[in-house]
Subunit: 320 residues, 2 copies
Amino acid sequence: MSDLPKAVSIKEEGPREGFQFEKGPIPTARKIELIDSLSKTGLKEIQVVSFVPGKNVPGMADADEVVAGLHAEPGVSYRGMWLNEKGLMRALASTKLEIQAGLVLTASETFLRRNQNRTLEENLEGVRRMADVYVEHQVPVHRVSIAAAFGCNFEGDIPREKVLGMIAQLFDIARERGLDVGTIFLADTMAWATPVTIKRMVGDVRDRWPDKTVALHLHDTRGMGIANAMAGLEMGVAHFDSAVGGLGGCPFASHKGAAGNVCTEDFVFLCEELGIETGVDLEALLESARLAEDIVGHPLPGSVKTGGALSTLRRRLQRA
Amino acid sequence: MSDLPKAVSIKEEGPREGFQFEKGPIPTARKIELIDSLSKTGLKEIQVVSFVPGKNVPGMADADEVVAGLHAEPGVSYRGMWLNEKGLMRALASTKLEIQAGLVLTASETFLRRNQNRTLEENLEGVRRMADVYVEHQVPVHRVSIAAAFGCNFEGDIPREKVLGMIAQLFDIARERGLDVGTIFLADTMAWATPVTIKRMVGDVRDRWPDKTVALHLHDTRGMGIANAMAGLEMGVAHFDSAVGGLGGCPFASHKGAAGNVCTEDFVFLCEELGIETGVDLEALLESARLAEDIVGHPLPGSVKTGGALSTLRRRLQRA
């Protein structure tokens, strides 16, 4: 356990993953209310919207209004997501967002075909095109990302060699354009990872690219989210995506009613108990989680919001 | 990860932990329905009832009827729980239960005082008395157990030395009566454990009693259940309590609405993915989990019952 990081950075994905997934409709003002609440917890990176067509993802139809309406807190980096140049242009039109791009491949070709009707080669072509767009608009490219890196409901287990090969392809695309990309994101989009496969994958990626930062985007669809995050921490991973309350889920992967992203407050609780710095005020975050639950109007899977933080209990016991 | 056990044994606690905790009146026939369903999953040990006074725990008022009505499956060991001699006599009256006793201490004296209005010394005296009763009735004493071994909502963190000292006291009581007890159960009754404290505690216990079997009873109140179970597995622990659907909770520890025991099917899923033999048919168990949810009439926290087993998906993909 000696590799536990001293501190972690967390990218909060709740507003984007959650409101994209919820059947809604959720009023724009309430989305902003959650983002503003999260802004005061100490979280330093918040993914607030995805700039996708409202006809495809109704929950993101008001993305521009959400960004326009949020009350930006100094020191917090607000992020948006996009899938193509049109989405990027919408993101660039905002003055409130920190624009950081990623080069993304999906490890499952079956998923690609079913979900985007594309082959891997077509997808690579799309990545090259977007990379050119980033160069043209001087958008910093911060990460290479592999979606479905651990397995796919339509293809099955994904061999690690395949993931390593795709990461190499993405770095090639970056290098050809003079882009220096520092972070490798591994996304367990459909929740196939276990603590063992997390450790093996992170180990192999780090062996091959020892100078790069490894980051994890984990889903909790099969209840392994926190255990997988722990495995990442034990490998020294210090960058995680998560979603307040456990908001989210994968709208494409036929997981109706299943849990979403690994839950931010449960992860912050874990870090706090392990003595790993998150910069987050857990009690404030629990308030945000309860607010998220109120906004979506149904119970969210996070546990600490009902179980309670131990740091708070300890303080109370010390005073008593 | 080389210490992962090849196989684990699971004591299913759902019927006892769950029906003791649920507010509902749940008809006896439906309790039996769940037990009978669990009996066909491959689970080899099922804790079915607690013989406590119905006026204290209304959900257990029909304990004798539940035991009388269950359809015992060959090869399944049905268990009951009791807190005193009167309860034990009720258990002994049944021909269907395998009677195994434990010597139990609670690591938190504050909890003891609040919950049972007893001091540690009075509790030790009670354990000695029960040990005498077990000798008198020739009841095999199978385990020593420490409740609240990792922390207590009313006392705070529990030092490991205290737990080690209590285990030693229990072994002394056993030895004085010629009882050879093989198993040490560590119960995280109020969900204070983390993967790190699990590893430290299991390590210390094993260092001191290398010939004994260590077992874990974990709660998921703060979302750490599966991560803590994984930590146990990594330490070679091969005996776990869990509850189907994540039924249960602690009725005494002011955790209203909080998650209960670590969820059996999520734990079986983890083991299956790690190649650890459980003897359980996960699909059958998922049916039991859905039945449990139907019986209690509200969503239960387990994730795999909605996320789905990967073994099933893999088989389906191989056929396609």
